[in-house]
Every structure is written in C-alpha cells, then in structure tokens.
Symmetry: C2
Subunit: 297 residues, 2 copies
DNA sequence: CCACAGGATGAAATGATTTTTCTGGTTTAA
DNA sequence: TTAAACCAGAAAAATCATTTCATCCTGTGG
C-alpha cells in the first residue's frame, strides 16, 4: 500500500494519462467509462464541465467525481487542473513541417518545439537499467572510444570532450579506417560507444564487430530493432521518430547529446572527490583563455 | 485595434505571463494589483479560488473577473486553465543539481528537464529580426565558415555538416591557427559564424577581428553583453544561465545546435526547388551506406 | 470651491456547477 | 434464497463564479 502510494506520487508529476491507464483495473465499471473517454480525447475534457463529461461518458456526475477521487485528486476541478498542466507540458510539442507562409519567428518556434518534443519522448522511453549498466561499464573502463559518422560524428567528438573532462581516457573516431584500426587494438577493459541515428551504418557495424572480437564492451546509442542494436552489449535505445522530409530538422543527434550528458553525469557522480577537485581546477585554467568584460579595442 | 488583436492571439499560445505583462498598462489600477500578484507567484494561483485570489490581491471578486476579461478570457476558470497549461509547459523544467541520493532514472530526468528548460528559455529570448538578417546573409553567402573551440568546436562541425547538405560551401575550423589563416583570406560575400559559450574566448575574438577586416560578415552565436557579441555584425544572443557547478550539464551547446537548425531551416526555405531535389538525391545516396534490416551474421 | 459626470470599485444577489447525501438496485457469498 | 456489501444515480445541498447595482472616487467645468 505504501509502495503504491509512493508510485502514484511519482507518476503524478510525470504522466497523468499513464497514471489513468495504470489505475484502469482498480476502477469500478462505470468509472472506467470515464477513464476510457479521457484517454481517448484528453484535450476535450478541458473545455467540459463536470456534467458535460458525465454525459459524454454516459455516467452520472457523482461517478465522475468518484473517478477523480480514486486517482487521488480532491475533485473534478483539481483533476482538470492537473490534466491541463500535463497537456501543457507534453501536448504542445509536436511534429510539424515548415510551410512557406511561416515567418522566421514561426520557424524558430517550430524547430525548437519539435526538438523539445523529441527530447520529451526520448526521456520517457529511456531505460534506466540500460543506463545504469552503461554507466557502470564507463566508470570502470580503462579507455573509452566514441564511434560515429556524419552527424553522429560530431556527437562522438562532443562526447570525447565531455569524458576528457572527467579524466576518462577518451577518443573519438569518425573515420572508418581509423575506427577499424583502433577497434582491433582494444582490450577487455575498454569500452566503445557506437553512435548511430540509423542503426544500420555498414562501416560502424564492422567497427563494432571488430571491437567485440577484441574483447571490448560496446555501448550503442542506436534506434531500437536495428542491426546495430542487436549487436551491442549494452544497447541504449534512442528512438526519435523523424518524419522523412527534407524540411524536418534532425533532432536525433540532439537526443544523443543529451543521453551522453546523462551518461557523463552518471560517471561523474560515481567517481571520487578527487575528480571534483580536478574539474574545479580545469574550470579555472580555462578562464585564462578568455578575455575579460572590457570592450575589445 | 486589429493589429493588437492579432498580437494578442499570437502571445496567447506562447507565454501567458508575458501577455499579462504586456497588458499591464491598459489595466485599471486595482486590476493591476491582480496582475502583479499573478506575476509574482503564478503557481500559487492554481490552488486558489476566485475569492482567495481576490483577497490575496486585496481587491474584490468582480475585479478579478474583470481582469480575466480584460485579457480576453471568458472568466476566471478559463484563465486558470490557461495558466495551468502555461505553467505545465514551462514551469517544470528548472535548474537543478544532482544529488548523491538520486537514482539513475532521476539523473536522466533531471538532465533532460534541465536541457528542455534551457531550450524553452532560449526559444523565448530569440530575436526574430536578428535571425532573419542572419538567414539572409547565409543565403547570399559565397562561402560560410564556422568557428568554435572546445564544445563549440563540435557545434561548428555539426553546423558545417548541416550546411553542406544545403549545397552551401561550408567549412568548420576548430584550430586557432587555421581559423586565422582562413579568416584573412575571406572576401566580402563570405560569412563567418562564430560560436562561443563564453563570448570571451581570446582566440575567437582575434579570428573574428581578422574576418571583419577581410570584409566578411560575422554572425555570432554568443551570450548577450560579451566582447564577442559587441564585435559581430549580426549577433544572435543565446543566453543559457548555467549555474557554475561541476554537476550541472552544459546545455548551451545544445541550444546552439538548435539555433543552427533554425538557421539551416531558414536557408533551406529561402532556396530553390533545385535544392530540394538535391536533398532528395542526397538521402537516397546515403542509403547505400546502410545495411538492411536483416540481423547481421 | 462646488457640483456633477464618468468611470472604477465592491457588497450583495444571482446563477451556475460541483459535491454530498441518500435511496434503489445489483451482484456476491453463505 | 437471502443477507451483506457494493455500486450507481436522483436530488438536495453546498460551493463557487458571475452579474447587478449602488457607492465611491476622480477629475472637470462652472
């Protein structure tokens, strides 16, 4: 009972609809009608009064209230407010395409919102267990190499950057030959992070195979159900449904970057205070490369 | 009058609080009390009834209603719902710091949310006019070069990538010497995009100076009020307030990437159908580098 | 300096909507 | 088959938002 209460609380702020779904089977029959309608068209509920919803779901008004109470809310109003917040947080950021009539401000908004939408999706789809394993592997690694081509190449470089700062011996290779050469020289305590938006890049598959043969652990930032996902020791699934359209921005590389952030944060956390000292010193030394606030002459 | 109505409509779905702010001076004195309280602590309003808010703001209940109407809402309820949606969309994603007691799932959530929060901020702070000018400059450019160091280096590389696809002659330099050499060889129709998280990197300032002397147009993705911002022809301000803490992820580079996406989208839009053909062919040719769905042997 | 017009404000009445109570019906288990 | 528990809705009650209207300012012209 306590556990379920905690869980409720956890879900509360995350995903109301998921919570409704989860409670479906502990609801009474007619309350379930309400739940089903809400799941069907949550947005429309916002404009409704209690009696509207009751009528639409074909139940009486007290039933709707009992439904709200069953989910832990004070009443209908309080439920509606939560719903509004939830819809506000996830409803707005949708796939889109830019049309010619859009102003630059529109384009700006759409690109940002699409990116945010992707991030929200990826965030909720993330598998904490896979992350945990990956963080453990990275923390214990003797050496970490990041492989990627094209847009994922710059993700790899960025990742190298991040892990450098954590005093992890890191490299990023975006050239297939070098990748292969490096892969065959890996040892057991080494970790490879393979980054791919398609999950099917031939050269990368080959690098991963070589790395595994050499005994290294391979973490993959790849879409689910792809050849690369099947090949990695520790696949981290990053699924960004991208409409295949020239005017759709590619936000999957951004999702990848954020996942790298999560991994880096995890590694940093699991490391010693010694590292934190190091990071402070690093920040200080970077400052000498900067000009101060005076207008340059 | 029509214009203002349009503008209202525009702001409606974007940022309720900003809308309240904008209407401040056309409100009556006591209505303004309501507005001020709401701006002060919007979240608390959600739990309040009409009479609570009236009492807290030290006005009568009809006044609160008149305030809501003045903003174009049906009444108090409808205002509260909008507010809930707005707070849901931007309120949740706040700065944070990871603590030792956090689970990996928590870390994941926090890192994503912080990133999303930054993006929302940057999105709303973006100056469409600056963007428009930058897009115009890029569209007309003979050659585009991206300069950046460190984390901004990988942003530069990513940008080059993106613009390559648009058949723009693009280069990315992350080495100061090469930057300088390239900068002095630029011509008038060339464009440099200088990317910096700090806005004060000495070497980058120098490169920008050289590029300007050579006659090139310099676009800057830089924080406001920094030496680099002052130096660029077309500064695009990207302000990510980052708490200076080792365990805070650096999300400004992600904001930069999204801004690059916006620029690329803008350039793509303003270009010919010929380009769109090109992009389709490009996608097809990339496909040959990929394995198909069969499990690799 | 006063009187008056006009708008701004709040008290109280009104009306809408939510919530509670209670009763009739239905299932379940002995 | 019957009692017990449970479920659902009608109607009453309570709550809360909205409207009406009277009052109070504020500023202006006499």
């Amino acid at each position: 009972m306590i556990f379920s209460a905690l869980e409720d609380n956890f879900l509360d702020n995350i995903n109301l609809l998921r919570k409704v779904q989860a409670h479906l089977d502990e609801l009474r029959k007619s309350e379930r009608k309400v739940a089903n309608y809400i799941l069907l068209d949550p947005a429309s509920v916002l404009q409704m009064r209690l009696s509207d919803l009751a009528h639409t779901a074909d139940v009486s008004e007290p039933t709707v209230i009992r439904f709200c109470r069953a989910l832990g809310f004070d009443g209908f109003q309080s439920f509606k407010l939560q719903l509004a917040q939830y819809l506000g947080s996830s409803g707005n950021y949708v796939q889109f395409s830019v049309s010619d009539s859009d102003s630059v401000a529109d384009v700006n908004r759409k690109v940002f919102d699409a990116t945010i939408g992707s991030l929200l999706n990826v965030r909720d789809e993330m598998d904490p267990v896979a992350l945990e394993k990956a963080i453990a592997a990275l923390s214990g690694a003797r050496r970490v190499e990041f492989y990627g081509f094209g847009a994922s190449g710059s993700v790899a470089i960025d990742a190298q950057h991040k892990f450098f700062r954590l005093q992890v011996s890191a490299a990023a290779y975006t050239d297939p030959h070098i990748q292969h050469m490096s892969a065959i020289s890996l040892k057991e305590k080494d970790v490879v992070v393979a980054i791919s938006q398609s999950g099917r890049t031939k050269a990368l598959i080959q690098s991963v195979n070589l790395a595994r043969e050499a005994g290294a652990t391979v973490i993959g930032l790849v879409p689910r159900n792809t050849p690369l996902a099947a090949l990695c020791d520790l696949p981290i699934h990053v699924n960004v449904e991208e409409v295949e359209h020239v005017f759709t921005p590619v936000s999957s590389r951004i999702a990848h970057l954020v996942v790298i952030d999560v991994l880096a944060m995890g590694v940093a956390r699991s490391s010693s205070e010694h590292l934190q000292d190091h990071l402070k010193r690093l920040n200080r030394s970077l400052r000498t490369l900067r000009a101060n606030n005076k207008k340059p002459t």
